[in-house]
Structure formats: structure tokens, C-alpha cells
Symmetry: C2
Subunit: 329 residues, 2 copies
């Protein structure tokens, strides 16, 4: 049995890269794992964007999840929050409660975690390990120039509403596992569910172009409402324009809408941008190799709400429930 | 039943104070709860000190813990890490897994949490809530001037070794609960166990005075070894000089030493300082109203180790095991 300290050292501390230095000033050099605190600072003229997410067995992943995929996902959902703010990943802390110190599990988990961290130059700078029911809490730190963050409260009347990638594959897969509908044929839903790819490059490219943005983690309908409430706006959305895979498109209409509009675990970006930015956004989509789909329009009139339309522009009455950790889903 | 969002709003978001602004620059103003990320920055010439701690039922607290005390302790153990670095508390994030949304519990928990946060001007800037086995993960952010952090690797040969407050009350209380020894009479051990007071003012006063420092969370012996290993030093410590309450002093010798030297949950500071700082430290002890006790000396010779002495200066052979979350304790 490994002790706590040798476990931290073997699977995490030794593989933790030092945070990137930002200053010529030797006194300001960053400090990683091994002290009471890590020490970091954003570059001059920048702020640190901070997000924290807690993943719990049975709620965010299945007990038999591939630990490599879990290591990936635990960091990915946090990097997705940085992407949504237009922040560049810099560092993260990891707190881990484990029922036992299983070396095989830890090796795969840390492999998945560091593979993604290294791709984004995101250094592990601190953490905590304890025994207890499996729980993974990552807090992530990114850099964003002062005033450049993509916030939820910045939607403007007349803005187009966009969604990146395709929505619904993760929810479609979950529904198949639960027997709500047959497994969507040809959908790589397990990859969507377990290996979401945070849209970091897209988020950086949207600085100065998008107005409001967030990442879709609890379903488009509920998440878009956060933008509308904080911006004091209303949205008209073409429900059938919401991008999805061919496999999800082939599901019965009600299932498809549940998956694409209120699915959750999408980790795509939803953002608003002025009509004048359409050409720029087409270029961004090409340069970061992520499809961007225009799904609706922001309006200033009325209380925050989403008016759904079908492909023909006719009003749709949809009752959708976003994902809520304290309601059955 | 409260939904996740109304729960966050009611008990946390509404009571979260905005992080203190640091810049004249409007574009650099901080952002708290309600977006994908919080936005903060240290003042010019400062770094952010970051620490994260995860508290699990049955490991860090009893199932019947007073939720007010738990709210206090969850933040206190993190503030203690800031104190150990000489960092000034600024903000924190809270991730919470709850078996159910119990309003009475949440009200008491958040009361305890915010009472301590407000005393230290530490703003809640973000978080996450999920259902799951009770787990509390706080990540805290403090400010420290570049180069002024009290690190573990800075002990110098000839340094005095100090401990703040008194050690062992929390462990003595735990032992009494477990039936290892009778409840120490006159000891406020429940307060020590459940309401540790982070030594924030002391940590700030030690900037520029102490060399190495850390907070004692896993027992003096094991924690002091972290300083010795990272500084490449050896320590001579008078085991009987280690400060403790009269109640702990009255325990049988073996129990007393177990509590004071390897107890855990003390949240006092252990630090080293040059002999020339003794008068300054006496003044600091008075001004922050925390007893400081000199318990030993740093030496450069030999491998990192603690040589224990009794009050008469005779060598003591002690076998002490620090707290380890993956060993039975």
C-alpha cells in the first residue's frame, strides 16, 4: 500500500511541470507543488480566470469509467470554462478523494490528466489527497487580458447566437445506456461523454469578436438562459438549426430535441456576436477547425426567455428541463 | 426540495461579497460568482498564493459535526495555508458535494463559512455544487509581495525553530472520543478540533522575519520534516518544550508526546528564524496576541532528520508516525 505522500509524489508531483515564469524578476518566480501554497501571477495587464468543478461517481461518471478518460474529463470540463471566458490555460490544482490507493487506476488517471494538461501547457501547481468516496475537484487558472474576458452579461440586441461543434451526442449515449432510446448508430457518443475536447483555441480566437459566451455543460436551453438573464435579453432560436451529428439527427424528434437542446455534457461554446462579425467568425471556424453554427438572434424586448422556432420559422412550444444536480433527470 | 441553482443563490451567491478591486483600470475590475470563471488579479508587485483542501466525512469530521463548525473549519484549514506563506487572504472558491439539499444544514454551514470569510475579507468568487457523498473542497487565494513568501525550503543553519500557540488539543480530544485516554480535563479540545483559528495575522507579521514556515496540520514531527527535507537541514528539538495546554500536559507522557508531536489538526505555525530575530519575535507575539515558543535549532550537518531531546537535553528515541490519509491512524 502506498502512503499518501509517496502516492502524491509518484503519480502527480514528479510529473507536475513548474508553472511558466512571467517575470524577469527572480523574486516573482512561480512556485509549484510541495509548499503550503503555490505562487502564481498573471502577466502584466492580465487577470486570472478561475473555475472549479467537482466530479462525483454516479453523477458525472459511471463506476466502471476508464480512469484515463476520467483524468481527461476532470480537467477538460475546467478548461472548457476557461475557453468560455477566452482565457489561456496556465495552471491547476487537483484535490482527490480515493476509496483506496490503487496504483493501476492512478497511473491511468494521471496519464489521461497530464496528456490533456501538457497539450495546453497547464501545470499542476498544488493539490490535496485523502481517502473517501471517489471525488475529483480541479480548480483551474487561466490568463485573460484586462477587459477581454468573454462574459455572460455582454449580449447585445441584434447579436447572432452561435454554437460550436455539435450538441447532443453525450446525452444521446447516456439515453441509450439508460434504455431511453436505441444507441444512435454511427455516433461516437462514448467519446463525447467521456472525452470532451475543451474549445480552448476557439475561446482565445473569440476575444474581441464575440460579445457574451459560456460553455454548454447543463444543456443549451438552460445555459443560454444564463446569458439572457445576466444580459437582460431575449432570444429567438431555431431549434432545428442547432447542430448535431447525423446519428443524433436520426433519433425521433422528441429524443433529438431533448439531446440537443437540454442534453448536458456538451462542452461546446455558445456565444453571441454582432452581425458584422459573420465573416470574421467564418474565418475563425476555419482556422481553429471547429464548425460554428448560427442558431438565432438576441432581442432586447421582454423578459429573459427563449422563443423557439422550427426550421420554417413557426413558433414551437417546448418544455425543456436543464440538467440540475438536485433533481432526478 | 430546492433546485441546485436556487440553493447556490440562496445560501452562497447572495452572501458572496465581490472581490476587492485592486486597479483604477475599469477593465481590470474583478468578477465574482455567476460566470464561467471568476476574474481576479494580485496587486502590482504581488503573487497569488493558492492552496486547496478537501474535507471528507469520517476522515476530517464526524457525521454529526455541527455544520456551523464545519463551515468554519473548511475555510480555516485553507486560510492556515495562506498564513503559513505569509499571504493575505483575498478570495476563495467552494465546491460542495451534498447527499441532499438540507436547508437547515446549509444555513448553518454557510453561516460558519461566511463568518470566518468576512473576518478576513475573503470573498467567495466561484464554486460548484453537486449531489454526492458529503465533500467540501475549498481553494483559497491570497496576496504576497514578490519574494516575501515564507517557504518551506528557506531554513538556515543556526535558525531557531518556533511553534505558535499550543499543540495537541485536537488530537487529545480525538483520542478521548476513541477511548485511547480519558478526556483531558479542562481542555477545550472540541473547539481545537472543530474551530481551529488560522494564524493569519501572525503569518503576515512573520514576513521578512522568519526564514522557513509551514502550518502544522499532520503533526509537528512529520510537518517539520517537510521543512528539513526541502531546506536540506537537520533539527534538534526539545520534545518537552513543545507548547501544550495544561490539560494535555496532564496526560501520561506517551499520550502527551503522541498528541503534541504527531497529533495533527493543530493549524499552528512552525517556523524558523535567525537568533537575531528573537526580540522582534517577542514583540510580534505580543502584537498579534499569539504565544510563540522556541523549541529547537536548525543544523546543516547530516541528512534531514529530527534529533529529539528531553528537557534535560538528553537524546530521546521517539517513534512517531505523522498523519497519513492512506494508513490507519
Amino acid at each position: 500500500m502506498l502512503s499518501e505522500f509517496s502516492l502524491i509524489d509518484r503519480f502527480f508531483a514528479r510529473r507536475a511541470s513548474a508553472p511558466a515564469p512571467r517575470h524577469e524578476d527572480e523574486a516573482a518566480k512561480p512556485l509549484g507543488i510541495g509548499d503550503d501554497c503555490a505562487l502564481i501571477a498573471p502577466p502584466a495587464g492580465h487577470q486570472l480566470a478561475i473555475s472549479t468543478d467537482m466530479l462525483v461517481e454516479g453523477r458525472h461518471f459511471f463506476p466502471d469509467v476508464d480512469p484515463y478518460a476520467l483524468g481527461h474529463k476532470a480537467l477538460a470540463v475546467n478548461l472548457s470554462d476557461l475557453a468560455a471566458m477566452g482565457a489561456k490555460p496556465h495552471a491547476f490544482t487537483l484535490a482527490l478523494a480515493l476509496p483506496r490507493a490503487d496504483e493501476t487506476w492512478l497511473e491511468a488517471f494521471s496519464d489521461g490528466l497530464f496528456a490533456l494538461a501538457e497539450r495546453h501547457d497547464c501545470a499542476l501547481v498544488g493539490g490535496d489527497t485523502t481517502s473517501g468516496p471517489l471525488n475529483i475537484c480541479i480548480t483551474v487558472f487561466g490568463d485573460v487580458p484586462n477587459g477581454a474576458a468573454l462574459r455572460r452579461d455582454a449580449a447585445q440586441p441584434g447579436d447572432d447566437i452561435y454554437v460550436s461543434g455539435a450538441l447532443g451526442d453525450a446525452r444521446a449515449g447516456l439515453g441509450a445506456i439508460r434504455g431511453e432510446w436505441p444507441a444512435p448508430e454511427g455516433s461516437d457518443w462514448r467519446r463525447a461523454l467521456e472525452r470532451p475536447e475543451p474549445r480552448v483555441a476557439l475561446g482565445l480566437a473569440l476575444r474581441g469578436v464575440a460579445h457574451a459566451a459560456l460553455d454548454i455543460s447543463d444543456g443549451l436551453a438552460g445555459d443560454l438562459m444564463h446569458i439572457l438573464k445576466r444580459s437582460g435579453m431575449r432570444a429567438i432560436v431555431d431549434a432545428d438549426a442547432v447542430p448535431c451529428s447525423n446519428a443524433v439527427r436520426a433519433l425521433p424528434e422528441a429524443a433529438r430535441r431533448q439531446c440537443t437542446l437540454a442534453g448536458g455534457d456538451d462542452y461546446e461554446l455558445c456565444f453571441t456576436a454582432p452581425v458584422a462579425a459573420r465573416k470574421t467568425l467564418a474565418n475563425i471556424a476555419t482556422s481553429v477547425n471547429v464548425p460554428l453554427t448560427r442558431i438565432g438572434t438576441i432581442e432586447s424586448s421582454g423578459a429573459p426567455a427563449i422563443a423557439w422556432r422550427d426550421a420554417a420559422g413557426a413558433p414551437l412550444s417546448l418544455t425543456l428541463q436543464g440538467f440540475d444536480h438536485f433533481h432526478a433527470d
